[in-house]
């Protein structure tokens, strides 16, 4: 695909905690995916170009990708997570960048 036709990416580093502790990878993936799905809907997630790029279960730190023009919406979505299955949860955005290397 030509570079002009590709969607422009933004990577957002985040910190995920469930009841004060970082969850394991499968649970973290489920939390992030289902939260974004419930916030944006199926069509919204597809247009967002969302992807969970990396996640470290030891520290709860991770990186997700979104479309450049919708970074604010993605960050708002992350801020809207306050609980998961009754347990307090927090998905805090730390920084954004156009490349993974700079995060």
């Amino acid at each position: 695909m030509k570079p002009t036709e590709r969607f422009k990416r933004r990577y957002i580093s985040f910190s995920l905690s469930l009841e004060g502790k970082p969850p394991a990878y499968p649970e973290a993936k489920e939390i992030v995916h289902s939260h974004f799905l419930s916030f944006f809907g199926e069509s919204g997630v597809s247009s967002l170009a969302f992807k969970l790029v990396k996640y470290d279960a030891a520290t709860g730190a991770g990186i997700l990708r979104c479309e450049r023009s919708r970074t604010d919406e993605a960050i708002l979505c992350m801020a809207c997570l306050s609980e998961w299955k009754g347990a307090p949860a927090r998905l805090e955005p730390l920084s954004t960048s156009g490349t993974i290397k700079r995060l």
Binding site: D72, E73, I75, L76, A79, C80, S82, P88, R90, E92
Partner: protein
């Protein structure tokens, strides 16, 4: 700078957020009548629970130099369709404020530390509601000026004691 509904201790960053109790001009408008009364007060900060304020009341608020407060904790407390309706009401109110020249602020109005959000998240909240960068910076300046006014009130209270 943020506005919260609880008293922050020094450990929790008391200098980085204002408590609602330290703002004498802050009004929670539970209904249209309360919003009408609050909008007439000089320099009022009005937080409408339903995010529906008449255009006439917004004009009065603008003349009185007041502002509407958009609370992030209201979004947190809702889920699903109700949350989307709330966000859409906030968007409409922000457009109405812009049309009437009424000021607005973005704050968490957190009831506890777990509801507090970072400055970047509040920026994203403002952007999604449709505020421009200029409007967002004006809103931040308003909160910072409130902190100065609140500190003066505290000093006055201490001197009186």
């Amino acid at each position: 700078m943020d506005i919260v509904r609880f008293e922050l201790s020094a450990n929790e960053g008391a200098g980085r957020a204002l408590s609602v109790s330290s703002l004498p001009n802050f009004f929670d408008a539970a209904n249209a009548l309360a919003a009408k009364q609050a909008c007439r007060k000089k320099g009022a900060l009005v937080h409408p629970s339903s995010y529906e304020i008449d255009d006439g009341d917004l004009l009065e608020l603008s003349r009185a130099g007041g502002a509407v407060v958009f609370s992030f904790s209201d979004v947190l407390s809702e889920r699903g369709f109700r949350r989307s309706i709330l966000i859409s009401k906030m968007r409409l109110l922000l457009t109405a404020c812009r049309k009437r020249g009424t000021g607005f602020l973005f704050a968490t109005l957190a009831k506890d530390a777990s509801q507090m959000r970072s400055a970047r998240e509040l920026t994203a909240f403002a952007a999604v509601l449709g505020a421009t960068d200029v409007e967002r910076k004006e809103a931040e300046k308003k909160i910072t000026s409130l902190s100065g006014a609140s500190a003066k009130l505290k000093n006055l209270a201490q001197v009186e004691k």
